[in-house]
């Protein structure tokens, strides 16, 4: 494991660049724990100050220091992505493995639910969800909702692998030797699908952060918890671009682009690492 990571860092430039970008973003988000101001206090510093030594990213029209505010925002956005990814991966793994292995009625029931989630349009559902739940809207509730919408494609993918694993000799031997269904799924099949899941996790984090930013910019989320999208939302509310407060939009966008590119590079290099064909193609053996 550690050796793999070390070798990837040394020989795979995409992986190294992705790790550097994400480390920067993660380190910056950790700075939020040392912030001198709580995230929701306003008019603690002079408003509309451009980036300078005193305020490295400038201040907002609401009198907040963007440097510290943004560290809260990126922390919440990252956490959001990770929570959505973890919950939806769990759902996808359990449903995919069980459906693929059991087959028959269980498979058909789970897959009809799955197909429903694949075909429903996500964005209108999320907007509708916001209007219904407006009073109780919170960061955690949205994460849960997105996780419930984000597992379907991967469950399909995992199911297809599990269906092939079910007919392999090691599964039949496992059954014959008396392993329970749970043991076969967890000990024989899970290690087989984990690399695939690992790679799609990055994409899922990207997807959820992107959707969260979109919803927040339009104001369809809890606008009192600072996230990257909420920051842009407030900047728009104060017509930051028209007023020439470019740094209020520029730094959140820069940070989220860094996150996206970092995750994308990780996903691509993971894919290459996992797929033995492209790995062999590179080493030329």
């Amino acid at each position: 494991m550690w050796r793999t990571i070390r070798d990837l860092l040394r020989f795979n430039r995409q992986f190294a660049a992705g790790v550097v970008l994400l480390t920067l973003v993660a380190a910056y988000s950790c700075l939020s724990f040392f912030s001198p101001y709580p995230p929701n206090d306003s008019f603690v510093v002079p408003p509309d100050v451009p980036p300078s030594w005193a305020y490295p990213m400038g201040t907002t029209s609401r009198g907040q220091d963007l440097f510290w505010l943004l560290s809260f925002a990126i922390r919440n956005t990252l956490l959001f992505g990770i929570v959505v990814a973890v919950i939806s991966r769990l759902l996808a793994l359990v449903i995919g493995l069980v459906a693929g292995y059991s087959g028959g009625l269980v498979d058909r029931a789970l897959m009809s639910v799955n197909d429903t989630f694949i075909v429903i349009p996500l964005f209108p559902i999320l907007v509708l969800f916001y209007f219904v739940m407006r009073e109780h809207m919170s960061w955690g509730l949205l994460a849960l909702m997105m996780a419930c919408l984000g597992w379907a494609y991967d469950a399909r993918l995992i199911r297809s692998v599990a269906m092939s694993l079910r007919t392999r000799e090691f599964t039949e031997t496992g059954i014959f030797s008396g392993m329970s269904t749970r043991q076969i799924l967890v000990e024989e099949h899970l290690p087989y699908v984990l690399p695939i899941v690992f790679s799609t996790t990055m994409n899922n984090i990207n997807w959820s952060i992107g959707l969260e930013v979109t919803l927040s910019v339009l104001g369809f989320t809890d606008i009192n918890t600072p996230t990257i999208g909420v920051l842009i939302y407030w900047a728009n509310q104060h017509t930051a671009l028209v007023a020439g407060i470019w740094w209020w939009i520029f730094f959140p966008v820069l940070l989220v682009v860094m996150t996206f590119v970092g995750l994308f590079l990780l996903a691509v290099s993971m894919n290459e690492h996992i797929d033995p064909r492209s790995r062999l193609g590179r080493t030329g053996t």
């Binding site: 392999r168 000799e169 090691f170 039949e172 014959f176 030797s177 008396g178 000990e187 290690p191 087989y192």
Partner: protein, 335 residues
């Protein structure tokens, strides 16, 4: 292992197992195993021969009770006798069945090169399949595994490799070690040497023989390779189209085959100094969803007469321990 009671370890009686499918209102029945009876004594290697699709694998799957729909057992029984305890495989509590399998009865699957999970260390496969059957703590269990591998001339460090790091023959031998580490009384081996070259095959066969001598187990050994049967097995059963057509001591079957199908199988083996061209058997094995009436071999049989197309020939003992299902069981001297 001398405390065994006399009597066969395995008795199969009138076993009938069909694949039954129903799709779009059309019912189909494939008669893969039809009225098969056989018994296997302790300390015996029983060979099962026959061409592809003759029902060999279905028969032993049914014997191991490792069957899933659409395969169904319609009649007959499979009774094992382990140390005086007799077990009817198809009428037994699933928990008891789980306790018997691997510990008393192990199964080397067809395509057994792929029995090892490709993403786990070989050691993990041993733990997954055998640990629960050996009631010992983990370090002791691993010592047993290492000792077993050593006896089979496998380096214990194969435990720390992945299956793809081993050669085909190695993997095969590890698989056999995996199936025998619990010292089972009965081993089912389904084509364990197919897809290996003859040199590796010889090593694997020697290993199976060694295990059998050491453990005193009975083995049912399935392969279509008659040369392997001649070298390894004590008794031989020939299957054709889901039926057992001949059975006897391997030497007897080879010396004087009674059933014309067996005679053809044996005549197909190359011999030293024999330069005559080998003749193939006309026709193809019957479709088991719609087998011919009477003797299933009669459309291809040179000895066929009227009765062969009407009645099913019963298994008849023609010489001590030598049975055949044929109306014209004249012994033939193979050319």
């Amino acid at each position: 292992m001398n405390d065994r009671l006399p009597g066969p370890v395995l008795a199969v009686t009138d076993l009938r197992a069909y694949y039954r499918t129903k799709a779009f209102g059309v019912e189909r029945e494939v008669r893969a195993v039809d009225d098969v009876s056989l018994s296997i004594e302790a300390n015996e290697i029983y060979g099962l021969a026959g061409e592809s699709s003759s029902g060999k694998t279905t028969l032993i799957k049914t014997i191991a009770a490792a069957i899933q729909p659409p395969l169904e057992v319609l009649a007959g029984s499979v009774v094992f006798n382990f140390g005086g305890r007799s077990v009817d495989m198809h009428h037994v509590d699933p928990r008891e069945l789980a306790a018997i399998r691997w510990k008393h009865l192990s199964y080397i699957m067809q395509g057994s090169m792929n029995v090892l999970n490709p993403v786990r260390h070989v050691k993990q496969s041993f733990v997954d399949f055998a640990f629960r059957h050996i009631a010992k703590p983990m370090p002791e269990f691993l010592d047993i595994v290492r000792g077993h591998l050593q006896r089979l001339h496998l380096a214990p460090d194969v435990l720390d490799s992945y299956p793809h790091q081993l050669s085909g023959g190695m993997r095969q031998r590890v698989t056999i070690a995996l199936a025998t580490v619990c010292r089972p009384e009965f081993i089912i081996a389904d084509e364990p040497t197919t897809a290996l070259d003859v040199v590796v095959q010889k090593g694997v066969l020697a290993m199976i023989h060694q295990i059998q001598r050491e453990l005193g187990s009975s083995i049912i050994f399935v392969t279509h390779d008659m040369a392997v049967h001649a070298n390894l097995t004590d008794r031989l059963g020939i299957m054709y189209a889901g039926r057992l057509v001949e059975e006897g001591r391997t030497a007897d079957v080879f010396r004087s085959p009674r059933h014309p199908y067996t005679a053809h199988l044996i005549a197909s083996l190359p011999r030293l100094g024999d330069s005559a061209p080998k003749k193939g058997l006309e026709g193809a094995p019957p479709n088991l969803a719609n087998p011919p009436p009477g003797c299933r071999f009669h459309p291809r049989c040179p000895r066929a007469s009227d009765i062969c197309g009407r009645d099913t020939p019963p298994m008849v003992e023609l010489a001590p321990g030598h049975r055949a299902a044929c109306f014209h069981p004249e012994p033939v001297q193979p050319a």
